[in-house]
Symmetry: C2
Subunit: 330 residues, 2 copies
């Protein structure tokens, strides 16, 4: 879940590494289409903030939520790849809460992961929620799923229809970073009203496109040895060059609680994030620790007794408050 | 797409490798549940073959279709894994044609891949095919998708309802091979009426569970070096020990046409398959070459002029004919 790594180096080295990463990446498909959608979305929501006072009394803010894991192809004609586990549940849930809080959301998600407003549906909603009725000769929703299906379709379509949700999808680490850069550059005009909520599980290692095997790696010759390069520290460039005025939140996921807070702290300082959300794999749906640039450590917990179902509810509430202060004090 | 590899060794070495693979695998979740479903499905379809003469005049045959790619976890608390690319389109399409040909199908598929009868739907059918109608206060199918949705739901539910389709899903290479073994042992009682159609993209390499890192691999210390073991040649054991009387078809996928037929030929001989389907990544939806144990090389092509939409149509027709001869001559 981090975009950067521990390799220390000068700014020049980093710039060269990043240049080399993008130079070696395959060109992004439909980049013109993505760029047009982005421009229109940001323009519409910027104008909205001029004309209307939003429900929280502020100008419209826009957040880019990244969600799901990136893949690293091991061969150019991709048969095998390394993948990062992430269902995208956190990104999808957070998007819902951001929309409710009056934000416009650019949802940059891994193809096939959880979608906002659809989290309570079964794995394969079409086959599990619908049936053909011989009586009415129509497709009908099973009674047991009707509320969840109705909510998913109405709320999702409303958010997209009202221009509050733009969905863009990626698969590889190359697509993810190319699109994140496009989004960040497009959101610069928003100044401090832009937020980055980087919940995607991003590969730390990659095989440069140019040195990648053209064909499928053959398995005849014993064990496979692979050497993977580190992905350059894009978080540094995001905060410094791509989106210098945005409010930035990154995530740190570890399976070992002993090193989690230490690593989250290091990431906050190194990448100059405004907040880092530290989460441990097994307890991440119950509790996260938010580390702030004021050296706070705030525990955010799911609270069933108050009817708050997800840890993302109180988490987004906290971030929205802190983002408001950030905009006011900018 | 092959289960086996090039490592030569004695039978004892192979047995030891396989033992070690299964010993080192994490235990299969819900294995009792899977085993009960399998037993019931096979029993029902064996009885059906006793009572009824099927439309092709033969006893009911059962095919196990494997579909989609397997993953190889790199860490025990799995954050990263290696994945094999496969949409599962071939397995899903083939399952439809097998059901139409009167087979009962055990569909062993990777979670999230294409499902039988649902291939012509968009990526996210719930959000793309349905809308909420303010008028009727009901969820409705968009007119443009209504035929595809109706077909998907009625034909899928009919196949499951009539007991002709049993779906079992896997994610990791461990789950895949454990379940394949269970299925093969359960199908032994069917003698030559059992078929294995091994279209899944199975990892050639794996990290033994016991030597796997407990926690997330840290990225602070430069490039990542990984050494992966070869997956033992399970195809040999499938044909020899697990299902010695079954009719077995495996697949060979390559991106390099030069080595494809040579490798398919080698696989046929080495694993004593009855047929190997050779497919090249870029042309695999238009043409495949079937290599038989009689040294035939049969080109099977998609034929749009005859209204045959998929290459799987004529492919399954060929396999069904050959399987019938195999049963008659057994």
């Amino acid at each position: 879940m981090d975009l950067g790594n521990g390799l220390e180096g000068t700014q020049d080295t980093l710039d060269a590494e990043i240049q080399s990463f993008f130079d070696s990446a395959p060109p992004l498909k439909s980049s013109i289409n993505v760029s047009e959608k982005l421009e229109e979305f940001i323009k519409r929501n910027s104008e909205a903030s001029g004309k209307f006072t939003l429900r929280n009394g502020c100008d419209r803010k826009i957040v880019c939520v990244t969600s799901g894991g990136t893949t690293v192809p091991l061969e150019r004609r991709c048969v095998r790849y390394i993948d990062n586990f992430s269902s995208g549940h956190r990104g999808a849930a957070s998007t819902e809460y951001f929309v409710k809080a009056g934000y416009a959301v650019i949802f940059l998600y891994r193809r096939g992961t959880f979608q906002p407003f659809c989290r309570s549906l079964p794995d394969d909603p079409l086959l599990e929620c619908f049936e053909f009725s011989d009586e009415s000769k129509n497709i009908q929703v099973h009674h047991s799923h009707s509320e969840a299906v109705k909510r998913a379709i109405t709320e999702h379509h409303a958010a997209v229809g009202e221009g509050l949700l733009l969905k863009l999808c990626f698969t590889t680490i190359f697509e993810y970073l190319q699109m994140l850069q496009m989004i960040a550059l497009s959101m610069r005009s928003l100044g401090p009203r832009a937020m980055f909520y980087l919940a995607a599980a991003v590969s730390d290692f990659y095989v440069p496109w140019k040195s990648m095997a053209e064909h499928k790696i053959q398995s005849a010759s014993g064990p496979l040895d692979m050497q993977l390069n580190q992905v350059p520290k894009m978080l540094l460039v995001l905060g410094k060059d791509w989106a210098p005025t945005a409010f930035c939140i990154s995530f740190k996921l570890e399976t070992d609680t002993k090193i989690l807070l230490e690593k989250a702290d290091a990431a906050l300082k190194k990448y100059k994030m405004h907040m880092v959300v530290a989460n441990e794999l097994s307890s991440r749906k119950e509790e996260v620790i938010v580390i702030t640039s004021n050296n706070e450590r705030i525990s955010v917990r799911r609270n069933r007794t108050l009817g708050v179902e997800d840890v993302e509810g109180p988490l987004i509430q906290l971030l929205v408050e802190r983002h408001s202060s950030y905009v006011q004090n900018f």
